[in-house]
């Protein structure tokens, strides 16, 4: 059966269709235009407004331009939602069942959908997605949340401790926290460095030796890394000086900064070999001062699987060793390996070594 539509378009309609359908034309930011049944599209306040107030959307040439945050994939999801919910007389149970199924998607899509629904002012869908995102966040540690949402871990230790601090104000506890946190950070940065290298290795298929030469050759970069660490160290020093337990703070701080610029391998050893440090914190945990530790979750909680940590420790140590654990040994190695290639023997340990051995 042929039906004439209101915009002089002719379409084939199945014989059991009861009424003429009108459509709204929508254009997404990437330029693609599609038509959606009117009652479905009008469920979105923004589309409704554009159509009624400005008369847009009635034909292909006058398609409603959707906000940038609504791409084709998102539009399709939103239309699905609207198509279900605009039908009157749905029971609560039906709606809930649909929503539960509908909301199952990966986090990236969920965030995009929230954004898209918000730009179309579709509040029920924004509420639904917000609730789902809240459920994802609830009960997770900062580490886990950062991983899920790909958030940068760019806060300093103090900042992480700040929000709602220790219920006990024992300065020793704070100090120990800081020390432990800093050491963790060291480990993580080394790991990142290591991972960055590993990635390169994978993509380039180069050997570790090549990488060593690469790193050694890039003096500027490694120095750069060190300098930024220097800056951090200095800032912390200043902060530390404002601390009431001044004396103790500086002492431990000196010690830790020394550790930092010692051979990474040794430091890792020290880290592992200081069970007293870890134990102390565990004791504190047992005393029920968990609140204190809570906010260091990202750093104190041993999120890394111990087996993996061992592996990382070993790798880091190995890598460090190969870099510059012991200078004379290093020279030997390089000379041994570098028969074909010339390398500038430069150490990453930027502070004094260069001058000493140059």
């Amino acid at each position: 059966m042929l039906r004439l539509k209101s915009y002089s378009e002719v379409t084939l309609v199945p014989t059991d269709s009861q009424m003429m359908k009108s459509y709204i034309w929508l254009q997404t930011a990437d330029g693609s235009i599609q038509q959606v049944e009117q009652e479905v599209a009008m469920f979105c306040p923004m589309i409704c407004q554009e159509n009624i107030q400005k008369g847009m959307g009635s034909s292909k040439n006058h398609a409603i331009s959707l906000p940038e945050r609504v791409n084709t994939a998102m539009l399709s999801l939103i239309i699905d939602y609207c198509r279900f919910h605009q039908v009157p007389g749905r029971s609560n149970k039906e709606c809930k069942a649909f929503d539960e199924k509908y909301i199952r998607m990966d986090t990236k899509k969920l965030c995009e959908l929230t954004s898209a629904a918000d730009s179309l002012q579709l509040k029920p869908l924004v509420d639904l997605t917000s609730r789902a995102l809240a459920r994802i966040i609830e009960g997770k540690t900062p580490e886990e949340i950062r991983e899920i949402f790909h958030l940068p871990d760019d806060l300093t230790e103090e900042e992480k401790l700040e929000p709602l601090k220790n219920s006990t104000d024992d300065p020793r506890i704070r100090l120990l926290n800081r020390l432990y946190a800093r050491k963790r950070r060291e480990l993580q940065e080394r790991e990142k460095l290591k991972n960055a290298e590993l990635e390169e290795e994978r993509s380039d298929d180069r050997s570790v030796d090549d990488l060593l030469s690469f790193i050694n050759g890039e003096i500027g970069d490694s120095k750069g890394i060190k300098t930024s660490k220097n800056k951090k160290k200095n800032r912390r020093r200043k902060d530390q000086q404002k601390n009431t337990c001044l004396y103790e703070a500086n002492e431990i701080h000196e010690e830790s900064s020394n550790l930092k610029f010692a051979c990474p391998g040794d430091e890792v050893n020290k880290f592992r070999a200081s069970p007293s440090l870890t134990l102390k914190l565990q004791d504190l945990n047992d005393d029920g001062l968990e609140d204190m530790v809570e906010f260091d979750d990202g750093d104190i909680d041993d999120e890394i699987d111990p087996a993996l940590k061992e592996k990382i420790d070993r790798e880091v140590e190995d890598f460090a060793r190969r870099l510059n654990s012991d200078w004379p040994q290093r020279i030997q190695e390089i000379l041994a390996l570098g028969q074909e290639r010339r390398r500038v023997p430069v150490s990453i340990n930027g502070r004094d070594s260069m001058r000493r051995y140059a």
Partner: protein, 421 residues
């Protein structure tokens, strides 16, 4: 690092969405988001809804420790907070009366608080500081186990729409002037007040919920009331007072609420209404009353039956009726005025819209059965009549059934369900 920024899924969503997400998290998780990254450091601080309970801190057996950590937590959170706080909720049994709560309320009174819920523990009741009464924008107030003492200059909360006082110590005239001083009040709930005689003047009141030992309730000016739920407990004092009263409680309570849609009465409610009840024509018809639930109706007391009848015969649009009995079986069986049902019962009435009737805790005493018979005869569109016998009556059930089966039904669709468990 630039790559990481692009990958960040969530930090760049509009602040309104972030707040929408954070508000749905328990406050502790919301505050912990400040550890996530630099962008997230202060996102939680502008939340306008804050709800605290003991889940914010680690619980332990040491009560004082929990109390202390909870107080610290809340104080620090408020201190870090920026901007207005529209809704503040504190529900915990670990806190009772402590000076920190005063400070929090002072803080809130300076930050545009609109909805305040304080649910505190047993023990010494918290005496609400006077700064609460200067919260001009308050639209909702809920207090549990507090002492309320409005300053003499206090005229009322001009924006208050919802008031819920549960186990609150407040002078009776202070309550009355508080209620009448809130011109926009729509919802009022008072529970566990002792021996209160209450005059309610609230021209915009729609929902009323009362529970406790009330000596007297007079709905003096509540023309817009839509739903009422009353549970009246009775002490000996009050019972005495009942005996001596000469007012018609029915009129005093139900006389001025033509818009009523739902009425729920517990315990001594029907007894209360029966006092001073006259048989005259009611000056009011409850045209909107659709649902009536009356619990603990004593069918051996003719007066209470008359109250029920008066109510349902003046509600032409009644759809659902639920009555639970509370009959002193011995007295009920002796019932002498059974001829009422034939002679004096209103015969020209019909419950033209009544569809569902539930009779629970039925002991099968004569008046109960007569009442059921009456309903069946007068309800032409009845769909369900369900009867649940009183749990401790086992012998009379068969007799009840035999009687039920013989009753005439005006509605061909009517089903009688006898519910045994």
């Amino acid at each position: 690092m630039g790559d990481l920024l692009d990958r960040d899924l969530i930090s760049n969503l509009p602040q309104s969405i972030i707040e929408s997400i954070l508000t749905r998290l328990p406050i502790r998780d919301a505050i912990r988001t400040s550890c996530l990254s630099t962008k997230w450091r202060y996102k939680w601080t502008t939340l306008t809804h804050l709800a605290f309970d003991e889940k914010c801190v680690t619980l332990s057996n040491d009560r004082t420790l929990v109390e202390r950590s909870l107080i610290d937590f809340i104080t620090r959170a408020l201190f870090l907070h920026q901007g207005p706080v529209h809704k503040f909720q504190l529900s915990t049994s670990y806190l009772q009366s402590c000076p920190d709560i005063d400070q929090w309320i002072l803080f809130l009174s300076r930050n545009d608080i609109k909805e305040l819920v304080l649910e505190l523990g047993e023990g010494e009741w918290f005496r609400v500081p006077s700064c609460l009464f200067y919260c001009k924008k308050l639209t909702r107030l809920e207090l549990f186990r507090c002492e309320l003492d409005p300053p003499p200059a206090f005229k009322g909360f001009l924006c208050l729409k919802s008031l819920n006082l549960h186990q609150v110590l407040v002078a009776p005239d202070a309550i009355e002037s508080l209620i009448s001083g809130c011109p926009l009040l729509e919802s009022l709930a008072l529970s566990y007040f002792d021996s209160l005689a209450l005059n309610i003047r609230a021209p915009n009141l729609k929902y009323l919920c009362l529970e406790g030992e009330f000596k007297d309730i007079c709905l003096e000016n509540t023309p817009l009331l839509v739903a009422i739920s009353v549970a009246m407990y009775v002490t000996d004092d009050i019972a005495e007072h009942f005996e001596q009263s000469s007012n018609c409680n029915f009129i005093k309570f139900l006389g001025g609420i033509p818009r009523l849609e739902r009425l729920v009465g517990h315990i001594y409610f029907t007894k209360y209404l029966s006092i001073g009840n006259d048989q005259g024509i009611l000056p009011i018809t409850y045209n909107h009353l659709k649902i009536i639930e009356l619990y603990q109706v004593s069918f051996e007391d003719m007066k209470e039956i008359l109250v029920v009848l008066r109510l349902i015969t003046n509600s032409p649009n009644l759809q659902e009726l639920q009555i639970s009995g509370s009959s002193n079986t011995l007295a009920a069986i002796e019932a002498s005025d059974l001829d009422f049902w034939e002679k004096q019962c209103p015969s020209d009435c019909a419950f033209g819209r009544l569809k569902v009737v539930k009779m629970t805790d039925m002991s099968g005493v004569p008046h109960e059965m007569e009442f059921i018979k009456f309903l069946l005869k007068k309800s032409p569109v009845l769909e369900t009549m369900s009867i649940t016998p009183y749990a401790y009556v086992l012998d009379g059930r068969l007799n009840m059934l035999i009687e039920l089966v013989s009753f005439k039904r005006a509605s061909p669709e009517a089903e009688i369900l006898f519910i045994q468990d």
